[in-house]
């Protein structure tokens, strides 16, 4: 289960498990997390937890809510986010690693959230359809004699976190940059940085090739036209051809050089 670690000037005040769908933070005693400090509004912020996601929302506080130094109104909490309210810091720690119950992969599989399981009433005021999620039932579990689905105990937490982080990372980041320089024809000398995943070049309707940027490097592939591109004097076939530093490409009568940049 995810939790918040509340600290004041680097001293631990307490840990708060996010065990309720909605947890409120503020100066008034009615809050789940009460912070008695004048910089904190009576009803300052709240955290709504739906399965693996926790949403932080500022409730229109006077002095605002910061996450990792940025002022926010609404925010999906990511592991190790630091929420600042007044002088207090609340560190969000995503749930413990998934239990041995099932392989991590299973948590990424598509699951059905059964409409019948969604309560119609009892929705919190501002964040409406959320309530239903708590009763989500994955259709994955081992075969049972009936199609009714088994509810797993606690919502699995940490396993997908890594996956999401990986998926969010933009491909090719930190990868070497490459460019082509035109060697012949009217635009000789021009340079074109290959910053996109795909860069097409040539004359549409006559001859076009695409240079793709992949984790393993750059590749050239024929797209259209009767003639195929020539790399270092050899005509390539329909397969993608890896490009190396200083390869010379001939395309639609124009010569160009592929080179990598430091």
């Amino acid at each position: 289960m995810a939790k918040l670690i509340l600290t004041l000037e680097n001293t631990l005040v307490r840990e708060v498990p996010l065990d309720k769908e909605r947890i409120t933070i503020g100066r008034k005693p009615s809050n789940d997390i009460q912070i008695e400090n004048l910089a904190v509004s009576g009803e300052h912020a709240c955290i709504v937890t739906i399965l693996n996601d926790s949403f932080l929302e500022d409730m229109g506080s006077t002095n605002g809510t910061l996450v990792n130094g940025q002022s926010i109104k609404k925010h999906i909490l990511q592991n190790n986010d630091v929420i600042e309210i007044g002088k207090y810091k609340l560190k969000y720690v995503a749930g413990a690693p998934a239990q041995a119950a099932a392989p991590a992969e299973d948590f990424e599989k598509t699951m059905i959230l059964r409409p019948s399981a969604r309560p119609a009433a009892a929705k919190p005021a501002t964040l409406a359809p959320a309530a239903a999620a708590a009763s989500a039932k994955p259709s994955m579990p081992p075969p049972t004699p009936t199609p009714r689905l088994v509810v797993p105990g606690a919502a699995p937490a940490a396993a997908p976190a890594a996956a999401v982080a990986a998926a969010a990372a933009k491909p090719g980041e930190g990868q070497l940059l490459a460019a082509v320089q035109i060697l012949s024809g009217p635009s000789a000398g021009r340079e074109l940085d290959l910053v996109k995943n795909l860069t097409t070049m040539g004359k549409p309707g006559v001859q076009v090739a695409v240079i793709t940027r992949r984790p393993q490097g750059y590749f050239i592939t024929h797209v259209e036209g009767v003639k195929f591109p020539i790399v270092n004097g050899k005509t390539i076939d329909a397969q993608a051809q890896p490009l190396r530093d200083h390869d010379v490409i001939e395309l639609a009568g124009v010569k160009m050089e592929f080179f990598t940049k430091k």
Partner: protein, 270 residues
């Protein structure tokens, strides 16, 4: 039966991805009848493959029969009903199979099915398999997922940008074969020559941004099979966490429905 093979060009690609050992997606597409079906199965062991397989096989076989029987003499509303009926039938078949066979308990599938008829595309979907359209270089999502995330976006709880970081991506609110009843969503849209339609499983749009999908389709539209293969490759290059399937359909020319005998007779005397 009208033959659309001169009006539509189709390319498909499907791959199990990098992480999964088997492919639970099923696809079929036929330019001649103007039909494309894509299903992303779910359920333990091989049940996901079974569910998506039943959906695709049944819908394509039955739709062909009905289309042949009508011999092109149908309107767009009729086409919508056709898809609706076939989805309901497939739902019954999968639900029955899951009741009869313990190893298939709880299996289901998401689905997107499209029928091109009379200068329209009729699209039915359930769950988070999608249809996109590229028109004049711009990519637009045609279907709206039946998923928890989409409901959260609709209610203003989260933005699309935040949704891409959510950990609840895999929760669908509707699927084929889970319950005795199913609620398909079927709509029709006019098409234009040179439109490109993309049907895909979430293995594509979870791994590749809409911007990159648009870039790929726009820049490789001259070579549809290469575009399909590049989309799958990008999903795998980005991690390939799920099975990924794509069906690309390009509209080459307009395809008005042949008017019936009576209509033709009337137009003679006008």
């Amino acid at each position: 039966m009208p033959d659309l093979s001169q009006a539509l060009e189709i390319a498909t690609a499907t791959h199990s991805g990098i992480v999964r050992s088997h492919n639970e997606d099923s696809i079929t597409a036929d330019a001649g009848v103007g039909l494309a079906v894509l299903a992303d199965g779910m359920g333990g062991y091989n049940a996901g493959e079974v569910a998506s397989g039943i959906a695709v096989a049944m819908i394509s076989a039955e739709a062909r029969k009905v289309l042949a029987a009508m011999n092109g003499d149908m309107d767009v509303q009729c086409g919508e009903k056709l898809l609706l009926d076939q989805i309901v039938r497939a739902n019954k078949a999968i639900f029955q199979a899951s009741l009869n066979q313990p190893q298939y308990a709880g299996m289901g599938t998401t689905l997107v099915v499209a029928l091109w008829h009379d200068n329209h595309v009729i699209v039915g979907h359930i769950g988070d398999s999608r249809m996109y359209r590229l028109r004049a270089g711009k990519l637009e999502q045609v279907t709206k997922d039946h998923s928890l995330l989409q409901e959260q976006i609709d209610s203003g709880l989260i933005t699309k940008e935040q949704a891409s970081h959510s950990q609840n991506k895999n929760l669908v609110t509707r699927a084929v074969g889970i319950d005795p009843e199913v609620e398909p969503e079927v709509h029709s849209y006019p098409v234009e020559a040179s439109d490109i339609f993309l049907l895909c499983s979430d293995g594509l749009n979870d791994m590749v941004t809409d911007e990159d999908i648009e870039l790929t389709l726009a820049s490789l539209q001259a070579n549809l099979p290469l575009a399909a293969q590049q989309l799958v490759q990008q999903a795998n290059d980005n991690g390939g966490k799920d099975n990924v399937s794509v069906i690309l359909v390009r509209v080459l020319r307009s395809f008005p429905a042949r008017t019936g005998f009576v209509d033709r007779l009337k137009s003679w005397f006008r």
